[in-house]
Amino acid sequence: MFLAVLTPKDSGEVSPDAMLVHQLLQRDVDAFEQLYDRHSRIVYALVLRIVQQASTAEEVVQDVFLQLWRNARRYDARRGPFVPWLMAVARNRALDHLRLKSERQRRREDQSEELPPVFDSPQFEKALDEKRRAERVRAVMSSLNPQQKKAIELAYFEGLSHTEIAETLKEPLGTIKSWIRNGLLRLKEGLRATT
């Protein structure tokens, strides 16, 4: 049972993150500190990009890691790797904060306390380190039409919908949908080519 919980799908290895998260269930403070040291920078960078204010970003990051400490059982290592799940938690928290702050209670209003599902990595994904992964993502996104890149960023970092992005960029709704989907598919191909 122990190995089943820790072992990611289609892999015989137990990831260090999965092991540390499992230790959190035993209220292991050292394991928590290690997880924080491993991932706090990327989590903070993402949250700061969304909320645009350092003090607020720290507040949100604190919430994210406290949520991890208190709800570590919500992460199921059998369903996927830890980092993407943690990033999804952080993004949701930051966007919730942004929406609450601007009082724009929109479509995700009823999901503010929910944690995102754990999701698996695609078959082609290999263990790229953070630095190389960031370089690749930035390179692919820089190759996009600036408006296309802007549309994706408005969606990801500001949580806007298709319609809201169309209004913001003053472009037809169909164009926005097309830009976003094609941009993401190019990113996918770019990352696949890298690995």
Binding site: R27, V29, F32, E33, Y36, S40, R41, I42, Y44, A45, L46, L48, R49, A57, E58, V61, Q62, F65, L66, W69, R70, G80, P84, M87, A88, R91, R107, R108, P116, P117, F119, D120, S121, P122, E125, E130, R133, A134, V137, R138, M141, I152, E153, A155, Y156, F157, G159, L160, S161, H162, T163, I165, K177, I180, R181, L184, L185, L187, K188, L191
Partner: protein
């Protein structure tokens, strides 16, 4: 499966969270049918969307954040541990220390009380000795004054004769600056609640006697009376007299003059 193609185009947008409410509801309804292909596509799309996080500029949180966070987590861990584990027993050496402290405290309290009593006794003794010393000093001063009155050439000596011939004669000495000294032997003790009182009889005709001290002879009948500050001066005084008056004295004689001595 027949609808998959239609929904597959929405997969990335769904994972990104940009679908409008109507599209999102329709897509989730399709996923709820158990379409494994679309579910897997969504998982892959979520991973893909997650890569966008690397577009965020590099940044690092402050050390303060980690400190705050670790403080909260440690507090929660301690609280959880405290609610589950029994409290650690107090080691023997600590009990021994507590016992020693208790004994020391009791001894200190007892010793403090003992010292307090000793200090009180010493203080009382010192006060008594001081009082005795003062009395002796007063007696010594009186004796000196008396000796001075009795020996000084400026003193005037005169006899005080008894009204009752059975009574002894008294001797008086008056020094103009040091006062009056009256002495005698075998002087009878006045009645109960009474004392002897000295009077100064003025020369001025019609003047009333001036009251002075009240006194008693000692148990053997010896009398030594010192009046340091007589109420009148010798030049204006015709005679000294003694009567028996109620204790505390009287403003004017209430009984027969028992002794009278004229100042020549």
């Amino acid at each position: 499966m027949s609808n998959c193609g239609q929904f597959r185009e929405l997969t990335e947008a769904y994972a990104l969270g940009v679908l409008d409410a109507e599209e999102r509801t329709a897509f989730e309804a399709h996923l709820a049918t158990g379409c494994k292909d679309c579910a897997q596509a969504v998982e892959e799309a979520r991973w893909l969307v997650n890569q966008l996080a690397y577009l965020a500029p590099n940044a690092a949180p402050s050390d303060m954040l980690k400190a705050r966070l670790m403080q909260s987590v440690r507090a929660e861990a301690r609280a959880a541990q405290g609610s589950v584990e029994p409290k650690a027993s107090i080691p023997f050496w600590m009990w021994a220390g507590v016992a020693a402290l208790l004994v020391l405290t009791v001894y200190s309290a007892w010793d403090a009380r003992r010292l307090q009593k000793e200090i009180q006794t010493v203080n009382q003794r010192a006060a008594a000795e001081f009082k005795q010393r003062e009395q002796l000093q007063q007696e010594l001063a009186a004796a000196k004054r008396q000796a001075h009155i009795l020996t000084d050439a400026n003193s005037r000596k005169f006899a005080m004769w008894p009204h009752d011939t059975q009574m002894p004669k008294l001797e008086a000495m008056w020094h103009p600056e040091l006062g009056i000294c009256v002495m005698g032997e075998k002087v009878p003790m006045p009645a109960s609640n009474h004392a002897l009182q000295l009077w100064l009889i003025p020369k001025a005709p019609g003047s009333k006697p001036t009251p002075s001290l009240t006194f008693w002879p000692d148990a053997e009948g010896k009398l030594v009376l010192m009046v340091e500050n007589p109420p009148d001066v010798m030049a204006d005084t015709k005679a000294l007299a003694i009567t028996e008056e109620p204790t505390g004295g009287s403003a004017q004689p209430t009984s027969t003059l028992m002794w009278v001595g004229g100042i020549s």
